[in-house]
Symmetry: C2
Subunit: 319 residues, 2 copies
């Protein structure tokens, strides 16, 4: 089968179709997305070597006796042991033996086929087309903000960063009833948030005032500077993005105003599927371009261009 | 009256006795403590100018018609407006017009007399001697850890730093039933925690394993390094200490394990008084030396020596 493979360099190559292990299924990938973390892999993140990609939707193609056979699915990306102390304490997304689809010790989704434990699967409702379902992983990550720290409907919330993830976060937070502001540098991206009830600002034009919660989704030190400057005493800064390098943190900026700075990663797939099924979130405006898998290297290059939104890859064998 | 006054340099000098304003009382100071933050004032913290000190116990000496007259008291250090948006939202310790006893825009406790709003006072029960009551402010700050983040009795908690505050924090956390470890560099300090049910370790000898919560009370970048290295996924690092300078934070160290890093400052006086009254905390082993106010400069110099615990100042006019 064809795959977008990373080994110091990304390459499109023919590899053996994977064979599902005990408890696993084989998924024929229909559509996959390219995420910021995939671009970090290109820079050496996790020293990953293998098939890239972790955002996907597809249909189960094996084993023959699987109750999932033929069903349209999405899949959680963390492959966990279920036995370590963290798994037993309900922290399985942080399993000590964790492997991650396309990111750590498990081949990914930018291929004709992938394998995943059946326990990772969620059925895609018929109302949700593939181009929506492929957004399930970033939409779940956006919903994780509200699991990380409660968002009161009375809050003023600032989202910093108008990329794919920042936009999704601003959309889902606006559904909570909170007053949501989005700050970014791309007028054409900000325009996608305004119809969803989000007040948008070019970052230099952000009006004065502080926020109960700030979500840092820009992945830049300047974004974290802004977040810490604008969060109120005892407020929360949720960090959704990471980047290579260190942030020069002023300890007094946390201790004196008793601010909390909280990391936030993968989120709840089931809730994300409900929002898609009920039409609360329509991710299609986030799609920038779709490439066939055979042109995966072009897709990666395009995703790295400044200001590009979601790049999708059609992974069907005739795609 | 005599006072330990700071204006670019600390000095012992005669100043006018303060006159309590509307809603304020005059307190005759009996005993005051020197805190790490006072030592930061010497380095220019808050650009403070005035009488130093914020840890004290004393008795109310005026005005004549005050219902507090003659009562032995301690006092909360934040002087707040009661009218700004933060005060109205129950965040008055973060009042936007906040003044702080001996730290910001209000003369402090290292003097024969101080003034404070009557609303800041707590009566000291007769069972609590002055040498206990003078620890109320740091003991309340230690209790603030449990307000900052819930401490389950099933938690393993690490306290980093075996100074005055680190010891107090380890003692109060041990009362919660949690398994508390204290890491520091002073065997003679660690010995003060062991009889209180705290397991103690010289920092290089800390055994492997992670913690549900880590409290950083060392005020050093190495302490925060250790805290972030040892907190479990989705665990909490409570920052109690600050220092001049920046900490080089790795954003991935928060985002990937979804760790929360939370600042924590002033705490509940009433709860601290209950623990003292009931004999749950006996702070006397923390006392290093007591100086009379007239030798306040020596007291400051002594407090700056490495490994010194609490330095007290007897502020009675004949003290």
């Amino acid at each position: 089968m064809l795959a977008l493979y990373f080994d110091e360099q990304p390459q499109i190559k023919e590899v053996d179709r994977p064979v599902p292990g005990e408890g696993e299924v084989l998924v024929r990938v229909r559509l996959a997305g390219i995420c910021g973390t995939d671009l970090e892999v290109l820079k050496g993140y996790h020293d990953f070597k293998g098939i890239m990609g972790h955002e996907f939707t597809g249909e189960v193609a094996g084993p023959e006796n699987s109750p999932w056979l033929g069903r349209r699915v999405v899949g959680e990306i963390n492959i966990v042991c279920g036995a370590c102390d963290l798994c037993r304490r309900g922290l399985s997304r942080h399993c000590r033996q964790r492997r991650v689809l396309g990111l750590r010790d498990h081949d990914g989704a930018l291929a004709h086929y992938l394998t995943l434990p059946a326990a990772n699967l969620h059925a895609v409702p018929p109302e949700v087309p593939d181009v929506w379902a492929v957004f399930i992983e970033p939409l779940a990550a956006a919903l994780r903000v509200q699991e990380t720290a409660p968002v009161s409907p009375e809050f003023r919330v600032l989202v910093v960063g108008d990329g794919r993830l920042g936009l999704l976060i601003s959309w889902v937070l606006a559904l909570s009833g909170a007053e949501v502001h989005l700050a970014g540098h791309h007028p054409e991206h900000l325009a996608l948030a305004r119809p969803r009830g989000v007040a948008t600002f070019l970052t230099p034009d952000l009006p004065p005032g502080d926020y109960d919660m700030v979500v840092e989704a820009s992945g830049s030190p300047a974004g974290l500077d802004l977040a810490l400057a604008r969060v109120r005493p005892r407020g929360t800064v949720v960090m959704k993005s990471t980047y290579v390098g260190r942030y020069p943190l002023d300890p007094a900026a946390l201790v004196v105003p008793e601010v909390r700075l909280v990391g936030s990663r993968c989120g709840p797939f089931a809730a994300a599927l409900r929002l898609l099924r009920d039409g609360r979130i329509d991710p299609r405006p986030l799609i920038d371009r779709t490439f066939p898998l055979s042109r995966g290297l072009e897709a990666l290059a395009w995703a790295q261009s400044p200001g590009v939104l979601k790049v999708l890859v059609d992974c069907r064998e005739d795609g």
